[in-house]
Amino acid sequence: MTDGEIRELCNRFFDAYEGRRVDELAEIYAPDCVIWHNVFGRETTGAENLAALPKSYTGQRRRSYDDRTVRTFEGGFVIQYTLHGVQHDGHRGALWICIVGLCRDGKITRIDEYMDSGKFAAWAGRPTGEWRQR
């Protein structure tokens, strides 16, 4: 895949995620796609991710994947972005996330996602703790 094709695939992926188009995401994931989250420390399959999406989408009124900074490399991309969400009570929150994606034949084969679960409360509009200083 060329740099341009990888970049286009990356943006198509995030546009589909934002637009809640699960069918399109199913086309973007390779059959052997694996997704790893730093917060959970484990891998899930693309199919498991897709199955969880409809319920996940009910959590917020709206989500947008903004401030996307995409860099491509041989066989993949790294994207830094801000996830903005509007909760059902109107609370607006943000998460700052980095994803490293691997691609093959126009599809995503692996996603490694890094986010900060310490910001989940602020994202959801719940009381927050603080990063422990030592």
């Binding site: 917060v39 490399f73 041989e74 790294v78 490293v100 490694d112 900060d116």
Partner: protein
């Protein structure tokens, strides 16, 4: 034109210097204007403050090891995924999964972004006493 091998060498030199507590080499990896952004406070830390923080860690911690390094070089920088293992003075070994995105110029890091999960702080710093 990409200079992948030079960028890879810079990446290795940077993390190896921290592991080996080689402050002089570490300092040379940063461009004069270098800033480092962290996902826990979403702030850009100036070069001097970041170096002071690293120097403190290098002197206070028994060991810092960057394991399972996965590196990809892109035009103007690199991304490294790793697990940082630190051995604290009380011998507790903490660990944290980190994604480090660096933008480079002239063989130095000019801007970097570090993503990690503060929700797993106990795993990194040890149980609260």
């Amino acid at each position: 034109m990409r200079k992948d091998s030079e960028t890879l060498a810079l990446c290795d030199r940077f993390f190896d210097a921290i592991e080996q507590k080689d402050y002089a080499t570490l300092e040379r990896c940063y461009a004069p204007e270098a800033v480092v952004w962290h996902s826990h406070d979403c702030l850009y830390q100036p070069r001097d403050a970041n170096l002071a923080m690293l120097k403190d860690g290098m002197s206070r911690l028994k060991k810092m090891r960057y394991r399972n390094r996965l590196i990809h070089v892109f035009e103007g920088g690199f991304v490294q995924q790793h697990t940082l293992f630190v051995t604290h003075p009380n011998d507790f070994v903490g660990q944290m999964d980190v994604c480090f995105v660096a933008y480079t110029r002239d063989g130095m890091i000019s801007r970097a972004y570090e993503y990690f999960d503060t929700g797993q702080v106990e795993k990194f710093l040890g149980p609260r006493s």
